[in-house]
């Protein structure tokens, strides 16, 4: 079960800034554990951000992104009380969706 994201969204002068902090190991598959066995790759592959029901950002992530990734972006439009939804899917098929109201 994936841990929740921390999402903040704030609208200012017709532009909404969204800041997302994800909880994910982002294991590259290149590392080895103390016994020398390779640690299997486990990372986010896709992220979708929606403003109400409209997709405003679609990103492809890879193993080079850090553990517990932080993502900030802006989109045009958005008003206080609107819904921003962020979902990610990783290479093991796990996913997490969190929602926040624009402040």
């Amino acid at each position: 079960m994936a841990n929740p994201m921390r999402i903040r969204a704030a609208a200012k002068e017709g532009v909404t800034e969204v800041r997302v902090l994800m909880s994910h190991v982002m294991e590259t598959g290149q590392r080895k554990d103390s016994s020398g066995a390779a640690i299997p790759a486990h990372f986010i592959t896709e992220l979708v951000a929606k403003h109400n029901d409209k997709v405003v950002l679609n990103a492809q992530f890879g193993p080079s992104v850090s553990t517990n990734p932080y993502l900030a972006f802006k989109f045009n439009g958005g008003a206080k009380g609107d819904k921003v939804t962020v979902s990610w899917t990783d290479n093991k098929g796990e996913s997490r969706t969190d929602e926040v109201q624009v402040a």
């Binding site: 921390r6 902090l21 850090s66 553990t67 517990n68 932080y70 900030a72």
Partner: protein
């Protein structure tokens, strides 16, 4: 050869405007830390801790909502800024970690021995760390305000001060070897001068912290344990008096200054 390089460096420095500021900027992690503060992943641990606080767990299936961190049961806001403190119910000076351990034992029935004998970042000790993240997050920006009036607090402070200057280990190091002068650093990390009030607050008030290089959240207990390890001396027992004494010394000396909990570190 070396002299030539130094000469060249001096010549180069003369050309570049404000070389002093530039050099310190390159070496200093502070600017990077400021950039990271906005999305400090310690917040993820704060969220986990907040959930743990209100989750019924342990053999007694209880939450921590009856836990008294010094300001009354379930009062979390501002509690960390006043710790370590003397607790009458245990007749001990306790830091945040040892107090949480006491609450988990008394309220939830989770034996402290399990945490003391455990490992950092694992099991119940990792749970303590998440709780620490939550509690210190509720003292963000609050001034450090440790009451040293009680004789046991004075005793702890004195013991902490003694430990701070006590040289030990294979390299004959004391805490003061690295932390008693201004403007010192190890690689790119500037070292606070803990003999000053401002420096002590900087040291005390920036841990616990999220470490970017290993994606781990470290409590002050963890940080102090690592200081002892780096001194190449005997590693302290989790929540032992010596760790609480050092914490009391730092917090007491840093009184009045703002804490930036939880921190973010390289």
């Amino acid at each position: 050869m070396r002299q030539k390089i130094i000469a060249a460096a001096i010549a180069a420095a003369a050309v570049v405007a404000a070389p002093q500021a530039l050099a310190s900027e390159e070496l200093n992690f502070d600017a990077y830390r400021q950039m990271l503060a906005d999305g400090n992943p310690a917040e993820l641990f704060e969220m986990e801790g907040e959930e743990l606080w209100t989750t019924a767990r342990g053999p007694k299936n209880a939450t921590l909502e009856k836990c008294d961190l010094g300001l009354g049961a379930n009062v979390v806001v501002g509690a960390a800024a006043q710790m370590p403190r003397y607790f009458a119910d245990t007749d001990k000076v306790q830091d945040l970690e040892s107090r949480l351990m006491h609450c988990m034992d008394a309220l939830q029935g989770i034996p402290s021995a399990e945490i003391i004998n455990g490992s950092f970042l694992k099991g119940e000790r990792a749970k303590v760390a998440a709780l620490v993240a939550y509690v210190v997050g509720q003292s963000k920006g609050k001034p450090i305000q440790v009451d040293l009036a009680h004789p046991k607090m004075k005793e702890m402070y004195a013991m902490g001060e003694k430990t701070f200057y006590y040289r030990t280990g294979a390299m004959d190091f004391a805490c003061s070897s690295c932390h008693s002068q201004d403007g010192k650093r190890i690689r790119a990390t500037s070292l606070p001068n803990i003999t000053t009030s401002k420096g002590a607050a900087e040291g005390w008030g920036s841990w616990p912290a999220y470490r970017v290089s290993n994606s781990q959240f470290w409590t002050m207990q963890h940080r102090l344990w690592d200081c002892f390890r780096q001194q190449r001396t005997a590693e302290p027992v989790f929540g032992s008096d010596v760790t609480i004494a050092l914490s009391t010394f730092m917090a007491g000396k840093g009184n009045g200054h703002e804490a930036v909990w939880p921190g973010v570190k390289r």
